[in-house]
């Protein structure tokens, strides 16, 4: 039941129109800039109406930034992050809620503390971890004396073979990002709300843990999985710091990095028209996902933040 308050109503609409303009105007200007030629984009005053070169610019920006390659990379990396994250979080949450085993709470807390340190604060050591993933294994083997023993017995040098550098690989871009305390926590919370009768019934009917998971728990979690997929898709697509560090090879660059390389720097030709055009198509995939799946996404985000 709403009452009429014309003044306040007008004020609220004004506020919301302001909000819409705040979001929309930068995007509109980007669209205008993206449709101008390189001479037009440098004129003063800046035109309010779009020019005629939008599609020509799309083609040019797409080719200059080598986006065919980087979009494919982004797709692969993002899919890897989404699938990997959901898979390992789902099963980890299943383990800590549905199984009694020693150190259950320890395992839960080990996952949980990882929430405390965002990747940005441990950039360099994590870079080392990716550049030399097998390092800790070598260290463990040699300090336990195993590698020495193997060498003495077989003449096989373990250290020389245990090298694993993930810089410039898809796994290097995906693996460090798929551990997720948030997703694990979200699924755990959801599993706790599922009636116990379901599991009891399944067990009476003779279903083992794997069958219960596949046939009952997973179908029940569809809504949560969908919401997290959307959030993680956006998260993965928009990654910047990781790809910046881990891809020295141009062929491994993601779309966001490709865009970054198009930004005019002080002494180059200021091709803002191409940069803005590219900005629009790089943000397109996550924007479409949000606009189409908005309702799932809002629910998931609010749940995940709890």
């Amino acid at each position: 039941m709403k009452e009429r308050d014309l003044g306040l109503s007008i004020f609220c609409h004004a506020v919301l129109i302001f909000a819409a303009l705040l979001v929309g105007l930068p995007l509109y200007f980007a669209f205008v800039a993206g449709s101008l030629s390189i001479q037009e984009v440098q004129q003063t005053p800046f035109p309010w109406l779009p020019g005629r070169y939008f599609f020509a610019n799309v083609v040019e920006a797409w080719n200059t930034g080598d986006f065919a390659r980087s979009f494919a990379n982004s797709m692969i990396v993002t899919t890897g992050i989404v699938v990997g994250k959901l898979a390992i979080s789902l099963i980890a949450a299943y383990a800590v809620t549905y199984f009694r085993f020693p150190f259950r709470m320890t395992a839960f807390w080990l996952i949980f503390v990882s929430l405390m340190l965002p990747v940005e604060v441990r950039i360099i050591p994590t870079y080392e971890a990716v550049a030399d993933t097998a390092g800790p294994i070598r260290w463990a083997l040699s300090s336990l004396g195993i590698s020495g023993a193997i060498e003495a017995l077989t003449g096989y040098q373990v250290d020389a073979y245990l090298q694993w550098n993930m810089v410039n690989t898809y796994s290097g871009l995906v693996l460090p990002l798929i551990a997720s305390a948030t997703a694990t926590f979200l699924f755990r919370q959801f599993f706790l709300t599922i009636p116990d009768e379901l599991c009891e019934a399944a067990r009476i009917d003779g279903a083992g843990p794997a069958k219960f998971f596949w046939q009952i728990l997973l179908p029940l979690s569809t809504a949560n999985i969908a919401a997290l997929c959307i959030i993680q898709f956006i998260y993965g697509w928009n990654q910047y710091l990781w790809p910046l560090l881990f891809t020295t090879d141009k062929d491994m660059a993601t779309a966001i990095l490709g865009l970054k390389n198009l930004i005019p720097v002080s002494d180059s030709v200021p091709a803002w028209n191409l940069a803005m055009n590219a900005a629009l198509f790089v943000m397109l995939p996550p924007a479409v996902v949000i606009l189409v799946l908005q309702r799932w996404f809002t629910k998931g985000l609010v749940d995940a933040g709890k």
Binding site: M1, K2, L8, C12, H13, V15, A19, F29, A30, V41, Q42, I88, I91, A92, V96, T97, Y98, F99, F101, F108, L110, M116, L117, P118, V121, R122, I123, I124, P125, V130, P136, L175, P176, I178, A179, F191, D196, E197, C199, P209, A210, I234, N238, Y240, L245, I256, W272, A275, M276, M283, P286, A287, V289, I290, L291, Q294, T298, L301, V302, G305
Partner: protein, 327 residues
């Protein structure tokens, strides 16, 4: 933990049967968060947990430990020899005016961004809650920046305020403002704040809209019958009920401002001019990757880790000590 954490964002819906006290008691036993109907298959459970724990071990625990140990040594740039130097890296950092300035800048930028973001988000959420027409469309539009990467937000605003070609910069110039973020430190800082606020309002907004929606109608009706006007109702009923959400958001805004604005800084100013936007996270990257000063960078990482841990604790405090106005 189980009972507290299931409470909704608005803090308005009833928590599950267990009273808070019992919930905390249950936390100490090994049964907490375990389903009454469960399996006892240890091997299978370990197999399920293993992928997550392995990823964490390699990319979280070992790197964090290394960051800690690197912070107390000095790496010789040629031989790769490491010398234990104790707290030297830290004392040098704290003594360095550059670091202290970076800390101040980060604090101010984060504070400004935080206050503006939550202020605007509250205003927008209030308006959305009040209007009856076009609500869906407004929500949809305000939500869009969530999909946009911080870097892209940075690129957009860098263009709009580019002193040579940017339409908004031209507007400022025509009013006689000598706008130039490449030379004037304050302009650069303002630009960073604007770009990070623009990107982040949607996040706060989504949560606040949900929180306002969760305010029980009976309360609002009652106060309306008592003669309270909409604005008064907002401040005396909706806002206090949404306070836990707001608290959570303030903490999240700090985390965002500290860590996730890296892309924005890198896209717009690269820390310049003259270090005016060299935030702490950007400095870790600069010192470690560009100048290869590993010891100092690791010490900076450790300081940031402590800050991050403090924020996480605060966040959980907020969830646990949720102000409860049950009706």
């Amino acid at each position: 933990m189980a009972s507290e954490a299931t409470a909704t964002v608005g803090g308005a819906s009833a928590p599950p049967l267990a009273a808070p006290k019992r919930g905390r008691l249950r936390l100490s036993t090994s049964e907490s968060g375990l389903k009454a109907a469960h399996f006892n298959n240890t091997g299978f459970a370990v197999a399920l947990l293993l992928p997550q724990l392995l990823v964490l071990l390699f990319f979280f625990f070992i790197p964090s430990y290394k960051a800690l140990s690197l912070a107390f040594v000095q790496v010789d740039p040629f031989g790769g020899r490491t010398i234990f130097v104790g707290l030297d890296n830290f004392t040098r950092l704290i003594a360095s005016p550059e670091y202290r300035e970076s800390a101040w800048i980060t604090l101010w930028l984060t504070l400004a961004q935080n206050v503006i973001t939550i202020g605007l988000a509250l205003l927008f959420a209030f308006a959305t809650d009040f209007v009856s027409r076009g609500r869906g469309i407004y929500k949809l539009v305000i939500l869009v920046p969530y999909a946009i990467a911080p870097v892209i937000s940075g690129v957009l605003w860098a263009f709009l305020f580019n002193p040579a070609v940017g339409p908004l910069a031209q507007m400022l110039h025509s009013f006689g403002v000598p706008w130039d973020p490449n030379r004037r430190p304050f302009d650069a800082q303002l630009l960073i704040v604007v770009a990070s606020v623009w990107k982040h309002i949607c996040y706060d907004y989504i949560f606040l809209v949900a929180a306002l929606l969760a305010v029980p109608n009976s309360l609002l009706e009652a106060s309306r019958l008592d003669g309270a006007r909409p604005i008064r109702r907002f401040f005396t009923i909706s806002l206090p009920l949404a306070a836990p959400t707001a608290f959570f958001l303030i903490v999240m805004n700090f985390t965002y401002g500290l860590f996730e604005t890296f892309g924005i800084v890198d896209a717009i100013t690269k820390g310049g001019p003259a270090g005016a936007t060299n935030t702490l996270v950007y400095k870790v990257y600069q010192d470690g990757f560009v100048q290869l000063n590993l010891g100092s960078s690791a010490a900076q990482s450790v300081i940031l880790m402590i800050v991050a841990i403090l924020f996480t604790i605060l966040q959980f405090r907020g969830i646990e000590r949720k102000v409860n106005y049950q009706v």
